[in-house]
C-alpha cells in the first residue's frame, strides 16, 4: 500500500482470564487456542495481530463469530485493554495515553457505530446525533445545525424530534451513522454496523456508506462476518480466524489467490462475477493490438462485461483507465476466472 498509514496495530495479543501474563508467554511459545483453553482455562482473544490501516480508505476486518474481530476493533479505541502490543494512531501509541488523552481520542479522532445501534433511548434523534459535541459540553442550540446537516445527509429529514424507538431499525442505524459523522472524527469504527438489518435495508446502507466515503474519505474500520459485504466495501481486507490474521490485502487479490482452505471455503460461495473487477483478470499491456469488440473500464465488474458481450466468449475487449488503454481482456479468461480455483481442476495441495 502506498497510502499513508492511519492506524497501525503491532504484535497485539489479548488473553481473557484471571492471570493472562503467564498464558501470554505460553501463547508466544506456540500454544494454540484450544490447548490454552484446556490447560489454562484462558481464552485466547487475539494472537499476534499486525495490521496497517490506510488513511482515507475502508479497512474491512472479516471473520466468523468468535474469530476476535469485535475484540480487535475495541482495542483501537481501548474499550478493551490488550494483554500486550501496540496500537499506533497518527504516529502515537495510544496504549501510553492517560485517561484524559484517551477521552480526547474518543471524542475527536474516533467515532463508533454499533451493531445494536446503542442510541440513548431517552434522548431525541437530534440529541443522539449530537452526542459527541454534547459530551464536550456544547449546548443543543450550538450543535443543532451540524447534527441536522448530517441527519439530512443520511436521509433523516425532519426526524430530529422523534425518539429512537419511534424509528425503524434501518433509520436508527442512520442516526448511529449521523452520530459518528457529527463528531467530525477522521476515523470511523463500525462494529457489524449493518448485520442487524434486513437485506434490502443493508444494501441501502452499504451504498450510503460508499457514497459517504467517496465524499468524505474517512478512515473506516468495518467489521463484518459477511464476505459479500466485505468485498463490496473493502479497500483493504483482513481475514481473522481464531484470533489471528489468516490473510490480508487487496480484496480482489485475496479472492483470486486464497492462501488458506478456510478462505477458500469462504470464497467459494461468492458471486464472483459481481465482485471481481476487470483489472484483476485482464492481461496488462499498453500496446493493445488486434481486433477488439469494444472498450471496458478497468473498474467495471465482470458481470457488466458479460452483459455487454451478450455471452459471446470469443470476444476481446480493450481495457482502459481514465481513457488510456491499460490492458486486454479475453472473454475466455474472464469465464475461467469465474470458477473458484478448487473446482477449476488446478486442485492445490492443502496442508
Amino acid at each position: 500500500m502506498s497510502d499513508n498509514i492511519k492506524i497501525s496495530v503491532r504484535h497485539l495479543y489479548k488473553i481473557f482470564g484471571d492471570d493472562p501474563q503467564p498464558a501470554l508467554e505460553m501463547v508466544k511459545a506456540g500454544m494454540t487456542k484450544t490447548e490454552l483453553m484446556e490447560q489454562e482455562q484462558h481464552v485466547l482473544g487475539l494472537n499476534d495481530i499486525n495490521v496497517d490501516m490506510p488513511a482515507g480508505r475502508t479497512t474491512v476486518i472479516m471473520g466468523l463469530s468468535g474469530s476476535g474481530k469485535s475484540t480487535l476493533i475495541r482495542h483501537l479505541n481501548r474499550l478493551i485493554e490488550p494483554t500486550s502490543g501496540e496500537v499506533w494512531v497518527d504516529g502515537e501509541n495510544i496504549l501510553e495515553y492517560n485517561e484524559r488523552q484517551l477521552r480526547g481520542l474518543r471524542q475527536h479522532k474516533m467515532s463508533m457505530v454499533f451493531q445494536k445501534f446503542a442510541l440513548l433511548p431517552h434522548r431525541t434523534v437530534l440529541q443522539n446525533a449530537g452526542m459527541a459535541p454534547a459530551v464536550e459540553g456544547k449546548s443543543e442550540r450550538k450543535y443543532a445545525d451540524e447534527a441536522t446537516k448530517w441527519l439530512e445527509r443520511v436521509g433523516l429529514q425532519g426526524q430530529g424530534n422523534q425518539y429512537p424507538h419511534q424509528l425503524s431499525g434501518g433509520m436508527q442505524q442512520r442516526v448511529g451513522i449521523a452520530r459518528a459523522l457529527t463528531s467530525n472524527s477522521d476515523i470511523m469504527l463500525m462494529d457489524e454496523a449493518f448485520s442487524a438489518l434486513d437485506p434490502l435495508i443493508r444494501t441501502d446502507m452499504q451504498n450510503l456508506l460508499i457514497d459517504l466515503q467517496a465524499e468524505l474519505q474517512k478512515t473506516v474500520v468495518f467489521i463484518t462476518h459477511d464476505l459479500d459485504e466485505a468485498l463490496k466495501l473493502a479497500d483493504h481486507l483482513v481475514i481473522l480466524k481464531d484470533g489471528f490474521v489468516v490473510q490480508q490485502g487487496e480484496p480482489q487479490h485475496i479472492l483470486l489467490n486464497p492462501n488458506d482452505p478456510y478462505i477458500e471455503d469462504f470464497v467459494s460461495d461468492i458471486n464472483r462475477a459481481r465482485v471481481l473487477r476487470v483489472r484483476s483478470v485482464m492481461i496488462e499491456t499498453t500496446d493493445a493490438e488486434g481486433e477488439v469488440s469494444g472498450e471496458v473500464d478497468a473498474d467495471d465488474t465482470l458481470e457488466s462485461v458479460i452483459s455487454k458481450s451478450e455471452g459471446d466468449t470469443t470476444r476481446r475487449y480493450r481495457v482502459t483507465r481514465d481513457g488510456q488503454p491499460v490492458g486486454m481482456l479475453d472473454m475466455r479468461r474472464l469465464v475461467r476466472a469465474l470458477v473458484p480455483r478448487d473446482a477449476s481442476g488446478e486442485t492445490r495441495m492443502t496442508g
Partner: protein
C-alpha cells in the same frame, strides 16, 4: 451434681472452676434436688445440650446464659452515652424536619391543603381520574373527622420517604459501581428487611427519648430505605451494556455517564423502589405509633388497646385509602417515565 461434671474432672479443671459457693442463683433442678433431698438421676435420653446453663452447673466459673443478655444490655448502656454524643446531633435535623412538616400539614387549612394535594397529584400523574380518587378519599377521611390524623401520617411519610430517597439512591449508586460495596451492603439490607420492625425500636428507645420525633423517624427510615437502595443498584446494573459502551466510545466521563445515561435509564427501576419505600414507610408508621408517632396509627393502637372495634376498623380503612392513593400516584409517575422511554 451435674451432667457435665465428668468433663471438667477428666480435664482436671475442677480446681479452676472454683468451689460451688452454694449461694447466688440456682437452677430449678437444684431446687428440686434440695427439696427432695436426693440427687436427680439423669437418663441418657434426657441429657441436656451442653449449654451455658448446663455447664454452669458443673463448673460455676462458666457464666449462665442470662449473663449473655445482661452483658449485651450492659454493653449497649455503656456505649450509649458516647454513641448518643455522635448520633444525637446528626439526627437532630430529622426531628426538626418532622416537627416542621407536622406543623405545616396541620396548620394549613383544609380548603388549601386538599386542592393543593389534588394539584400535586395532577402534576405528577396527569390523570383526572386519579385527582378525583384523591379528592374522594380525602373528602371521606375529613368527613369522618380523621383529617388531622391523616395529615399527620402523610407528613411523616413525606419526610421519611424523602430522606430515604436522598440517602438510598446514592447508596444504591455506590453499590452498583463497586462489587465490594455491594457484597458488604447486601447482608445489612437483608438484616434490615427481615428484622421484625418491633426489634429495632428497642435500642432506639434506649438511645433517644420517646418524646422525640426522630425516634420513630429513624425506625421508619431504616425499615423503608431498603427497596430504593436495592432497586437503584439493580436498575443501574441492568442498563444496556451496549449503550454504556457507546457512551464510553464517545469519550464520556464517569460523571457524564452516570447523570446522562445510567440514572435516566435506571429511572423506571428507581421509581419502582420509591413506590415500595413509600408503601413500607406507611406500614411502619402504624407500628411507630407505639413510640409516640402521631397519625392514623394512634387510632389503630387505641382500637386495639381499648377494644374500640369501630375506631380500629375505620382507621385501618383510612390507612388503606392512603396506601391506594400513594401507590396509584407513584405508579402513574412511573408509567409516565416508562412511556417516555418506551
Amino acid at each position: 451434681m451435674a451432667t457435665y461434671d465428668f468433663v471438667f474432672e477428666a480435664l482436671g479443671l475442677k480446681e479452676a472452676c472454683g468451689a460451688d459457693d452454694g449461694g447466688g442463683l440456682s437452677s430449678m433442678a437444684d431446687l428440686m434436688g434440695d427439696a427432695t433431698g436426693e440427687d436427680q438421676v439423669v437418663s441418657l435420653w434426657d441429657t441436656p445440650f451442653p449449654s451455658l446453663d448446663a455447664l454452669h452447673e458443673a463448673c460455676p466459673a462458666i457464666p449462665q446464659s442470662r449473663e449473655v443478655t445482661r452483658g449485651l444490655e450492659q454493653g449497649f448502656l455503656n456505649i450509649k452515652d458516647s454513641l448518643k454524643v455522635v448520633v444525637d446531633p446528626l439526627t437532630q435535623p430529622l426531628s426538626w424536619a418532622l416537627n416542621e412538616a407536622l406543623w405545616i400539614m396541620q396548620a394549613t387549612p383544609w380548603w388549601i391543603m386538599i386542592p393543593l394535594l389534588m394539584l400535586i397529584v395532577y402534576l405528577v400523574g396527569r390523570s383526572a381520574k386519579l385527582v378525583v380518587l384523591v379528592a374522594v378519599c380525602f373528602g371521606f377521611l375529613a368527613f369522618i373527622d380523621y383529617y388531622e390524623y391523616t395529615m399527620q401520617t402523610l407528613a411523616i411519610i413525606f419526610v421519611c420517604a424523602f430522606i430515604c430517597v436522598l440517602f438510598g439512591v446514592p447508596i444504591g449508586i455506590a453499590m452498583s459501581r463497586s462489587d465490594r460495596v455491594q457484597r458488604g451492603m447486601i447482608p445489612v439490607l437483608d438484616m434490615l428487611q427481615t428484622l421484625p420492625p418491633f426489634v429495632y425500636l428497642i435500642p432506639l428507645i434506649f438511645l433517644f427519648s420517646v418524646t422525640e420525633p426522630k425516634l420513630y423517624g429513624i425506625a421508619i427510615i431504616l425499615y423503608a430505605m431498603v427497596p430504593v437502595i436495592r432497586l437503584t443498584d439493580l436498575g443501574i446494573r441492568l442498563v444496556d451494556q451496549d449503550v454504556i459502551e457507546a457512551a464510553d466510545a464517545f469519550g464520556m466521563t464517569k460523571r457524564q455517564k452516570l447523570y446522562g445515561v445510567q440514572i435516566p435509564l435506571a429511572l423506571p427501576n428507581i421509581m419502582a423502589g420509591v413506590n415500595q419505600t413509600i408503601m413500607m414507610s406507611l406500614a411502619m408508621v402504624v407500628i411507630a405509633s407505639l413510640v409516640s408517632a402521631p397519625g392514623l396509627g394512634v387510632l389503630v393502637l387505641r382500637g386495639i388497646r381499648s377494644l374500640e372495634l369501630g375506631v380500629g376498623l375505620l382507621s385501618g380503612l383510612g390507612i388503606v385509602l392512603l396506601a391506594i392513593i400513594l401507590d396509584r400516584v407513584t405508579k402513574a409517575a412511573l408509567a409516565r417515565i416508562n412511556a417516555a422511554q418506551k
